[in-house]
Symmetry: C2
DNA sequence: TGATTCTGGATATTTAGTATCCAGATTATG
DNA sequence: CATAATCTGGATACTAAATATCCAGAATCA
């Protein structure tokens, strides 16, 4: 899993803390946690394409949340950053070498394979678990541990 | 997920098909599906270290199953090949840049983070799903689709 | 007009995965 | 005992993916 997921999750919570009325530029979001600005910008673009953030150019532009944190699941963010590919990619080794049977007689493909089935099932379980938690729950827990974080962020943004 | 997982799963089933009494060399297992022999050998070594296979050097040596297929889960194989690392690695970005709070006041680490919790829970669901299926079930389904596969492998091995 | 910022493509750098090679140890066979 | 087969594990090379930077263009605001 790429570390852009972690950046994206924190950025969404930071956007919620920054208030609903202000857009925050990628540069400031990156500076807040000392991340590479241009690269974080790419992740934020992916979130915007996925409908999680909205973006606006120009001065006073930047990114803001497209919908409430409570309606954004961890799965939404992971899917936006990581793309739609499954972790297990079948390379059809069954079809290669002396072990490959008569291709005409074997109609079997990955869809009929118990390995592929099991891997897909496992990945679905993973996705379900991620979809079951939303970013507002994350925010609440973060505020419990660091109640001053939101205020500190707002003060720092105001000083920029 | 590395493709060594797919190789390892097929190799285990192939070892079961080859019969309990014969060891099969990495070279032959690789040739059967046209895989790079030296690299497959490394995956088989990992399976041996994990106690899934046993290995023996010398002529008539090679690899064989250390225990019945029914007692080897997909999770066992994945863990042996992929190693113990979790897919989500927290890089503690919370602690860097202006956003880092007073380090003394914050005892919070990854163990207290809702994100890390949720990611770990999701990964556990994935592991459970993999652990719920064993290689004997895979073998049965494979035999249903290609009943002649086992016989073909044994004949080819005898001719080598 | 000029400064700010997103967009998206091109490119470079770094890291992880894939693959090969070799020297050494072990074992079966004759 | 000598030889060939095979695993072991480290070193190395190659390739693909992730990470990071850069730039030209478009949009927006003051
Ligand atoms: S049998 Fe299953 S795991 Fe093996 S190559 Fe086919 S789809 Fe992939
Ligand atoms: S708050 Fe959670 S996700 Fe963020 S850096 Fe800390 S452990 Fe990682």
């Amino acid at each position: 899993m790429s570390e852009g997921v972690e950046w994206a999750l924190h950025s969404c919570v930071n956007l919620a803390w920054s208030g609903p009325d202000r857009a925050v530029s990628a540069a400031r979001l990156a500076a807040w946690h000392d991340l590479p600005a241009a690269y974080l910008n790419k992740q934020l673009q992916a979130l915007a394409r996925a409908g999680i953030l909205t973006s606006s150019p120009g001065p006073r532009g930047g990114f803001r949340l497209a919908r409430p944190l409570a309606s954004i699941s961890l799965m939404d963010v992971v899917a936006a950053v990581e793309g739609p590919e499954e972790a297990f990619r079948c390379t059809e080794i069954r079809r290669r070498g002396p072990g490959a049977g008569d291709p005409a007689a074997e109609g079997a493909d990955a869809a009929d394979c118990a390995v592929a089935h099991a891997m897909t099932r496992a990945e679905l379980a993973w996705r379900r678990a991620l979809a079951a938690q939303n970013l507002d729950e994350i925010r609440q827990q973060a505020e419990q541990q660091a109640p001053e974080a939101a205020g500190r962020l707002r003060a720092w943004l105001a000083a920029q």
